[in-house]
């Protein structure tokens, strides 16, 4: 069987300006800016876009005369990039635009951001929010394997320093940080300090997918989807996020994403050793440690030691989240930031990153989600046609 994405290319990517607050924008207007930016990057004129995916797909179809194929997913990120790839691979679309944006959504600053506050009956009375849910997974890993707050802080300082040097990052120039700086920031939900956590910000992000045939005439070097899949262990923020919940498989919820990673590596015909750069989703510092274990970059329980050994920084064995991620680059509301790992992976493989370019990168792993939310999506990108 030939590779499912052999004829699909990621031809365009774009992040708008990202900021704590974008004056004069709402989610729709910044989504339009992201869409136009990605189409300009791809070199594709708007009349060629026959499929649009995103919360504002219908507005884009009307406003830019695109479509008529549309998808309005409840979440974005890797599953939707894969769905877009399926549309191209099956011939249902020639050019797929995926666009998202968040702005003017977080106004009451006495509470945590609205999308972080679960309302389910079994969690609402206990004051849970995203950081607390993820902390329950992190704490269990610390209990089982002896992972330390210092190791979490090493992840946070590494990723925040990637953002510190990135002029496009919301927190550009805010560092550099040492692990001690992370540990000195105020506690939010133990073991997480403020600087272990994602920020809230505003911005838009978009991608353009097309066929290999169409991409041959486009300006950017093609980036290929080598594999990808998604795991979910149930509805996020409704039940106790216990590490060892198991579903049909024997993989515990703490390693949600492991099945997806195995699937992605099998589709790609690659192994973790083949990966040059890891654009891992970083809602909280601990999530990097458990993903390194879940995807097979180190044995179970040794993610903390892997981080201690300097592997994830610039020039390390596996540079992680090289633009600063959701901690320092941007976390633009509910959806847009879930496209940003794929976008950064594409930029790494093109070799066009202005900061922290991994020299000669040929394979990137990208991810979304996290253990506290009981879902994780994984994707492998490459420079070589699969």
């Amino acid at each position: 069987m030939s590779h499912p994405y052999r004829d699909v290319v990621i031809a365009g990517v774009h992040n708008t300006v990202q900021a704590r607050q974008l004056e004069g924008h709402d989610s729709e207007s910044i989504t339009f800016e992201a869409a136009l930016g990605a189409l300009a990057d791809a070199g594709v004129p708007t009349p060629e876009v026959d499929a649009v995916i995103g919360a504002h797909a219908q507005e884009l179809v009307l406003g830019l005369r695109l479509g008529p194929c549309t998808r309005l997913p409840w979440q974005l990120g890797i599953p939707i990039v894969l769905e877009g790839a399926d549309l191209v691979a099956s011939g249902r679309a020639d050019v797929v635009l995926i666009a998202a944006g968040g702005a003017s959504m977080y106004t009451d600053r006495t509470a945590t951001a609205p999308w972080t506050r679960p309302a389910n009956e079994f969690v609402v009375g206990y004051g849970l929010f995203t950081a607390a849910e993820f902390a329950l997974m992190a704490r269990r890993h610390m209990v089982m394997y002896g992972t330390t707050p210092e190791q979490l802080a090493t992840v946070a300082s590494t990723i925040r320093n990637n953002g510190h040097v990135n002029p496009d990052a919301v927190y550009f120039g805010r560092g550099p940080f040492t692990p001690a700086d992370i540990l000195a920031s105020r506690l939010v939900a133990e073991p997480f300090h403020l600087l272990d956590c994602a920020m809230t910000s505003e911005g838009g992000s978009a991608l353009v997918l097309t066929s290999a045939e169409r991409a041959a005439d486009l300006p950017n070097p093609p980036v290929w989807i080598l594999g990808g899949a998604s795991d979910s262990y149930g509805p996020a923020y409704q039940i106790a996020p216990a590490w060892d919940i198991v579903g049909r498989s024997d993989v515990p919820a703490g390693y949600v994403g492991r099945t997806a990673a195995r699937h992605a590596f099998a589709t790609a015909g690659l192994a973790p050793d083949d990966v040059d750069v890891a654009e891992l989703y970083d809602p909280f510092s601990f999530e990097i440690i458990r993903q390194l274990e879940a995807y097979g970059f180190c044995p179970d329980g040794e993610g903390g030691a892997f981080v201690d050994d300097g592997n994830i920084g610039p020039g390390g064995r596996l540079p992680v989240t090289t633009d600063g991620g959701t901690m320092s680059y941007s976390h633009a509301g509910i959806n847009a930031q879930q496209l940003q790992r794929v976008i950064r992976g594409v930029e790494q493989l093109r070799g066009t990153c202005a900061t922290n370019q991994v020299h000669g990168a040929e394979v990137a792993i990208c991810s979304n989600g996290g253990s506290g939310a009981l879902f994780t999506d994984v994707m492998l990108l490459g420079k070589e046609r699969p």
Binding site: T110, A119, Y126
Partner: protein, 137 residues
């Protein structure tokens, strides 16, 4: 000292499937949903057993004794109605199920894995009582 939250926090909105649970809580009883056919305990209340697809689900009463599986101590409240610090926790009950709750009645630094706990109930509104857990000796 970790304490129960005052009345005024957001309260649960029971579903048809979970109604017995909240009625039990209002009486000071901790109930859990179990399949009478195969004994599986539900991760969340429903209408069918996920293991055997049986429909004979019942609500036995838990003794309310368990131990601390995982926890966090929150210092930045989800919204101003919550008083900090508070300690959301996953409790492993002796009957073999886990639930979301919060630990009260000790200092945050006393929390540790496997800490023995016992359930107690505190009102969150006129209709709703929330289960909390307190360390036991």
């Amino acid at each position: 000292m970790l304490e129960p939250q005052p009345v005024g926090i957001p309260v649960p909105n029971p579903s048809p499937a979970s109604k017995p649970y909240w009625e039990g809580a209002a009486r000071g009883e901790l109930l859990y949903q179990r399949c009478d056919d195969c004994g599986t305990i539900a991760l969340r209340p429903g209408t069918v057993c996920g293991s055997c697809l049986g429909r004979n689900l019942s609500w036995p009463r838990s003794a309310g004794l368990g131990s601390l599986y995982s926890w966090t101590v929150v210092w930045r409240p989800q919204q101003p109605a919550f008083r900090v610090p508070y300690a959301p926790a996953i409790v492993a009950l002796d009957e073999g199920f886990r639930m979301m709750s919060a630990v009260v009645g000790c200092e945050p630094e006393e929390l540790r894995a496997d800490l023995p706990l016992a359930v107690e109930f505190h009102p969150a509104s006129d209709d709703i009582s929330l289960p909390y857990f307190r360390p036991r000796t």
